[in-house]
């Protein structure tokens, strides 16, 4: 009997020891990227977020990333491979990873998943995104003031709510300060394809655009803008090195704080599934310093708008706003609710063309 007891306590001691060792193991954090880390845009900033996690936790974490993962059949295998190789939390950073992420999450209930910009959640799948439309409002104001031809060119990726929202927010802001402004939108059906993005930029310039905006990941458009001597806005990241004079400012994605927060939650055991949608105020969206090329009064106006958004006194979608077909969307003074914004699938009045479908 005593022998059995000894064996039992021995086993217990080993177990406790093992638990102790397991605790000392670093938390493994995985990232799946749609582009290369050197895209100087979307993926680059997610990777900066990863590096911020490494910096914050040192050897308490081990981060891994897989880049250039197509949103097709390979995504599920990559996510699954990360889950199998002992990652505690996995960030999948493109909309198209939504279904693969959920499929893998079902098989690995103990692993935490974070899917960027999606709308499907589960007990171990959170979603997160940034209120980029707040940034779009600020650059829309600048665009409205800066255009001489009154044509703003917009390179769009996929007609999902996030992108449509960006077009609407920028257009409303521009229209507010320049009633004659028109937006021309080209859909390139890709997040990252420098060749296509550059072609779209050229086509827009040929159609009279003298200000370019983009919702794609590479700095191709800003490079074209620099060559043609017009102005543009950086996207996701500071793209100044590609358009030293062309870049007026840039919307900066700042994922670091969120990633640190979520990894901490996993370490503390307090992680739970939720939806995060942060804007300029919490710091998830940043506005780069304005270029001197923008007149001082416009700089002040844009800066004030940014400050008002931070203070909560300005909402980029404040009525009266009609939908494109002329029907009423928001009455005077009314602001859009998050539900409608999250599912936005219509243009506002004044935007030309129709959503591709």
């Amino acid at each position: 009997m005593t022998k059995l007891l000894k064996l039992f306590t021995g086993c217990l001691a080993v177990l406790v020891l093992m638990a102790g060792v397991a605790k000392a193991e670093p938390t493994k954090v995985g990232f799946v990227y749609v582009g290369p880390t050197g895209d100087h845009g979307w993926t680059y900033e997610h990777d900066q977020g990863r590096l911020a996690v490494e910096k914050a936790f040192g050897d308490k974490v081990k981060t891994t990333y897989v880049e250039n993962v197509s949103e097709g059949p390979d995504a599920e295998r990559v996510i699954q491979q990360l889950a199998r190789s002992g990652h505690d939390i996995i960030f999948t950073t493109s909309f198209g990873y939504m279904n693969p992420t959920l499929k893998v999450a079902k098989r690995f209930p103990k692993v935490k998943f974070e899917h960027a910009t999606g709308f499907k959640r589960a007990d171990n799948v959170s979603t997160y995104s940034a209120r980029f439309y707040e940034g779009r409002h600020v650059i829309g104001l600048i665009a409205g003031k800066m255009t001489k031809s009154n044509v703003v060119g917009y390179i769009a990726s996929f007609p999902i709510p996030e992108v449509v929202r960006g077009i609407n927010a920028a257009y409303l802001a521009a229209k507010n300060v320049n009633p004659a402004v028109k937006f021309k939108v080209i859909w390139v059906s890709t997040w990252l394809d420098p060749g296509k993005e550059a072609d779209a930029a050229k086509a827009l310039i040929d159609q009279g655009a003298d200000v370019l905006m983009q919702h794609t990941d590479s700095p191709a458009a800003i490079k074209i803008a620099e060559e043609k001597g017009i102005v543009a806005f950086g996207q996701a990241s500071n793209m100044k090195s590609f358009g030293p004079t062309a870049q007026l400012t840039s919307i900066i994605d700042n994922w670091g704080p969120y990633y640190i927060d979520r990894v901490q939650a996993v370490m503390d055991g307090t992680w739970e599934s939720k939806d995060t949608w942060d804007g300029i105020a919490p710091g998830m969206v940043g506005i780069l310093e304005f270029s001197d090329r923008i007149p001082a009064d416009v700089r002040k106006m844009a800066g004030d708008a940014r400050d008002a958004i931070v203070a909560g006194t300005l909402h980029p979608f404040t009525g009266p706003i009609n939908k494109q077909d002329g029907s009423l969307w928001l009455a005077a003074g009314e602001t859009a609710d998050d539900g409608t914004l999250a599912g936005m699938n219509f243009y506002v009045e004044g935007v030309e063309g129709s959503l591709p479908n």
């Binding site: 995985g30 290369p36 891994t64 897989v66 880049e67 250039n68 197509s70 949103e71 097709g72 059949p73 390979d74 599920e76 295998r77 990559v78 699954q80 491979q81 990360l82 199998r84 190789s85 909309f95 198209g96 279904n99 098989r107 709308f119 996929f158 007609p159 999902i160 709510p161 449509v164 059906s189 599912g343 699938n345 959503l355 591709p356 479908n357």
Partner: protein, 359 residues
């Protein structure tokens, strides 16, 4: 001075050993490459080539990746024997996915054992229809099937993109260009519980066996061989060239279409614009790595699949760039073709004759 001289007799042993040599040389070159970029060479090679074989999960993933490669390669091998160069299997793959996927979406939530077979049939017909265009243009107008089939690949991919942006888009998908997720009756069943390995792999095995049978026992196999090695003899033998061209393209188109449908209704489970990831092109390497032989193609399909899986693992564990996968696949083909030269030719050292020197 060195000169290449045709060997009088080609050693069959050597011919079949070539792929093995190519793999060995690729691994050696890989060791040098990894040393140069400062990664542990032995560990990297073992991660890419041997680790994936270590557990059931990785093997199952290899089956998933090898299935479309083998199916397409088997189809292509007949044409390549006969000198019918279908380079557009990628397009036929997409056409099959569109046709079969449309059936799944048209019969959304219709239960019935016949749904999946019907989808397979549609996939095969879709691939055949796409391959029929180069077949028709070649036999009727003598248009080069390499160009026609290759260009049609891009057309097929654009049509897929058009459809998932429009009529086939998921109504609840927030406008993202992808179809609904197929319902249960329209999904290829799983072969090994808990993995993604699916019944489609059995189809690939059946294709391998059938191809072996046709090549060794059926007149069509003989015809393709004769036509490839000696078109004139084929004509004297009374084979009708156009018929063989049609058969080759229908076979490769049909199998590529089936592969497309199986990929769509298997691991992906919906129509997405990013469905084509180059299986149709990689399969060309598989055909040659497998020496146009069905069993060889089966093995070569596994090796190719291995480089994909291993390339990803290497990225996760060693932070190697993704380009490694492409580099390895390119090296395979390079060494294979390089060694091939020496199985057919021998290198002879020729001493410059004195009279020449004296002149």
């Amino acid at each position: 001075m060195y000169r290449l001289e045709p060997r009088k007799e080609i050693s069959y042993l050597l011919l079949y050993l070539t792929p093995v040599f190519a793999i060995v040389l690729t691994i050696l070159a890989g060791l040098v490459l990894f040393t140069l970029i400062g990664k542990p060479p032995l560990q990297a090679i073992s991660i890419i080539f041997f680790e994936p074989l270590g557990d059931l999960y990785a093997v199952s993933e290899m089956l998933v990746k090898a299935t479309p490669l083998i199916l397409i390669a088997i189809g292509l091998s007949f044409g390549f024997r006969a000198g019918v160069w279908n380079i557009g299997a990628e397009g036929q793959f997409v056409a099959g996915a569109i046709a079969g996927g449309s059936v799944a979406l048209g019969l959304y939530e219709v239960e019935g054992f016949w749904v999946l077979p019907l989808m397979c049939l549609a996939g095969i017909l879709g691939g055949m229809a796409w391959a029929a265009i180069p077949a028709f243009l070649r036999t009727r107008f003598n248009a080069n099937e390499i160009l026609v089939s290759l260009m049609l690949t891009y057309v097929a991919i654009l049509i897929l993109s058009l459809l998932v942006h429009g009529p086939l888009m998921d109504p609840d998908g927030m406008n993202f260009p992808e179809s609904r997720i197929f319902h249960d009756a329209a999904v290829v069943p799983i072969l090994i519980e808990g993995t993604r390995a699916h019944v489609g792999f059995l189809a690939a095995l059946v294709a391998v066996a059938a191809a072996w049978f046709v090549l060794s026992r059926h007149i069509f196999g003989f015809q393709t061989k004769v036509m490839g090695s000696s078109p004139r003899a084929a004509r004297f033998g009374g084979f009708i060239e156009n018929k063989i061209i049609w058969k080759c393209l229908m076979l490769s188109g049909g199998l590529a279409g089936l592969a497309g449908l199986i990929e769509t209704a298997g691991p992906v489970g919906q129509l997405v614009p990013s469905l084509p990831v180059g299986y149709g092109f990689t399969a060309i390497i598989v055909v040659f790595l497998g020496r146009l032989n069905p069993v060889g193609i089966l093995l070569a399909g596994f090796v190719m699949a291995l480089t994909y899986i291993g390339g990803e693992t290497a990225q996760i564990e060693l932070n190697l760039p993704k380009a490694v996968t492409g580099v390895f696949q390119g090296m395979f083909l390079f060494f294979l073709l390089g060694i091939d030269v020496f199985t057919k030719y021998r290198l002879r050292h020729i001493k410059p004759s004195k009279t020449v020197a004296g002149e």
